[in-house]
């Protein structure tokens, strides 16, 4: 039986992990992920989870332990944030290249220097090329549900790719919401025990993993990895459909539209700010303004087809980035803009950079973004809620 609880995003993730019955969790505490790993270590030590919790000495070791346990067939979870993710980053392509179905929560947080513990999405963008599926969630319920879905996705034998679930630091990790916790039996029937993948080891099937490949073979490995990544779109949609049948909730595929069908202007968002943007879209619609929203759930693989379809004929598109690629523009913008251009989109695109280092993104800021889109005014890249002129 499912039950409702008042949980923050960290706790929701911990419940999603508990229900997914991993064999191994390896993690090092870092703000704002700590509550997730504290909850998980409690579940394990209370005997509520049959799982090894590895208290490692660093994120680098957390990823290495995860690679070890996943290589021998164990369902494996880890969680980190910010500098921790960057410290893990050497191991991330090892895991994705070895096609290990590890699932990770990344509590999105800014990157030093200056040192800052608050939320933005610089950390995830830093490892966009690591070969991990990059998923962004909007609220605690989606966070819980996507842990369960992510194990199913990562472990699918056509995919076999690790998944990073990005949960906005503090805004989601520390904010309490009403969350439905599905019943264990239902989760068990949706997400059966991990099947041994042909390329992974167990005691009946010893083999050498993480091999070397010289210039005769390396490129084929990488192109295969790249092509398999695109299979995520179809699998995610299929998993979400099954999830809806089992749990009565759907989160959609790689991207989801909101009042976008007839929209003149569209804002593209990732993560928690989507919630604020929905409210602004509703109020603009009440004023007769045809504003719409597209929530990007996947950044890798990047859903070019879905995005073009959702944006359609809107006259202008704004891409909200809680990150910046120094010397260029916001990373989500680069991706969306390139993809739309390839599809032949003719409207103007804008890049709205906001919320760095935990700076608020207010309803008023989002209204300003829509004004810029409606009037098609200003620079292509614009900054919001700046404390002072630079």
């Amino acid at each position: 039986m499912s039950e409702f609880a008042f949980l923050n995003g960290n706790e929701a993730v911990a419940w999603g992990v508990r229900l997914s019955r991993p064999h191994v969790i390896a993690a090092y505490p870092i703000t704002p992920q700590t509550k997730a790993v504290e909850k998980l270590s409690s579940f394990v030590q209370n005997g509520e989870m049959d799982c090894k919790y590895l208290h490692v000495e660093s994120e680098h070791s957390a990823m290495a332990c995860s690679i070890g346990s996943s290589s021998v067939g164990a369902r494996t979870f880890t969680a980190t944030s910010s500098q921790g993710l960057l410290y893990m980053s050497e191991g991330l392509p090892y895991a994705s290249g070895a096609r290990l179905p590890i699932v990770m929560m990344n509590a999105n947080r800014s990157i030093a220097t200056p040192w800052n513990i608050y939320g933005d999405q610089m950390d995830a963008m830093h490892v966009l090329n690591s070969g991990w599926v990059q998923l962004f969630v909007e609220d605690a319920q989606e966070a819980l549900d996507m842990v369960i879905q992510s194990f199913k996705l990562a472990e699918n034998h056509d995919i076999l790719t690790p998944v990073m679930i990005n949960v906005d630091g503090f805004v989601l990790t520390h904010t309490y919401e009403k969350v439905e916790i599905p019943g264990q039996e239902l989760v068990d029937s949706f997400l059966p025990a991990i099947e041994k993948a042909p390329h992974l080891m167990n005691d009946q099937d010893p083999m050498s993993l993480c091999i070397s490949a010289g210039n005769q073979h390396y490129m084929e490995f990488k192109i295969k990895q790249h092509r398999d990544m695109f299979k995520v779109f179809e699998q995610l949609e299929s998993i979400d459909r099954d999830f809806e049948k089992s749990f009565g909730r759907s989160h959609g595929g790689a991207a989801a539209g909101y009042r976008n069908e007839d929209a003149d202007v569209i804002l593209v968002t990732t993560g928690s700010v989507t919630g604020t943007a929905r409210v602004v879209v509703d109020s603009l619609r009440e004023q007769g303004i045809k504003a719409g929203l597209v929530k990007l759930r996947l950044l890798r693989p990047f859903p070019s087809d879905d995005l073009f379809e959702l944006i359609g004929k809107a006259g202008a598109v704004g891409i909200l980035d809680k990150n910046i690629s120094f010397g260029f523009e916001g990373t989500v913008y680069t991706n969306v803009n390139s993809s739309l251009l390839q599809k032949g989109y003719r409207g103007r695109t804008f890049n709205f950079i906001a919320g760095l280092g935990g700076r608020d993104i207010t309803k008023e800021n989002i209204e300003e973004m829509f004004s810029a889109l409606l009037e098609q005014k200003g620079e292509t890249v614009q900054y919001f809620n700046m404390g002072c002129a630079l």
Partner: protein, 250 residues
């Protein structure tokens, strides 16, 4: 009647409202460090490398130059600074998560190279800033947020004794463990910090001072009880004293 000034805030200590919790040991260690810097007259020559952890904001308190290092990398950053400026006094100030978990490699190798720096290691047996998870120095059976039934040494290993471990290396010139659980030991701690800095001024090499300290907030006890716990629970496992005074000849 003439007035005699018998006490003043050290010049090396900024006038700041503390961000540390009541009963936290960092304030004491900061003040001792500032007093020693005044006494040695090195305030203008000192560069402090801050860790990640509660004392990341040490630059708010110590009136000297400083650099914040990535988590665990303070001794490596200190090495870089010191090799460029051998005439400066370079202090690596670190907690137990920084020095003995994520930064163990840097700790051992800076010591092994015999870098002419002074490392001040504040060991309060828990991760303070992240809210009280198990540290490498957490005591056996100690309850933390990630060991709700106490540290099980069979599963997660024994608390690491930093001084004893570093004392296996040839290069360090000075290794001492002190505590701040009472006035007598606070005075000894000051002496140890002074010696560590004097060694550096004299060009002798690597000095390491481990200070057993308190974290009442994350231990879940009042400050007085926390100081008592250092004495009764930590000191027996982490014996106080000088482990190394001169460079070993090998």
């Amino acid at each position: 009647m003439s007035e005699e000034l018998i006490y003043t805030r050290p010049e090396s200590l900024r006038e700041r409202k503390t961000h540390y919790c009541p009963g936290c040991g960092h304030g004491i260690v900061h003040k001792l460090l500032a007093e020693v810097m005044d006494e040695l007259g090195i305030r203008e020559e000192t560069i402090i490398i801050a860790p990640v952890g509660c004392s990341v904001l040490i630059y708010d308190y110590i009136n000297a130059d400083g650099i914040e290092a990535a988590h665990g990398r303070a001794p490596a950053v200190a090495t870089g600074v010191k090799r460029v400026h051998p005439d400066k006094i370079v202090i690596s100030y670190q907690g137990d998560g920084d020095l003995l978990a994520i930064g163990t490699g840097e700790t051992i190798h800076a010591a092994n190279r015999g870098e002419n720096i002074s490392v001040i290691f504040v060991n309060n047996a828990i991760y303070g800033m992240t809210g009280g998870q198990m540290a490498p120095t957490t005591m056996s059976d100690q309850i933390t947020k990630t060991t709700p039934y106490g540290r099980n040494v069979q599963d997660v290993g024994y608390p690491i004794r930093a001084c004893e471990m570093l004392n296996t290396l040839a290069a360090p010139v000075y290794i001492e463990r002190t505590s701040i659980h009472d006035v007598k030991n606070i005075r000894k701690t000051k002496k140890a910090i002074k010696k560590a800095l004097q060694n550096q001024m004299d060009g002798k090499g690597y000095s390491f001072v481990e200070v057993l300290s308190t974290c009442p907030t994350n231990w879940g006890v009042a400050p007085v009880k926390a100081a008592k716990w250092v004495e009764t629970a930590m000191v027996p496992y982490y014996p106080l004293g000088v482990f190394r005074e001169e460079k070993e000849t090998v």
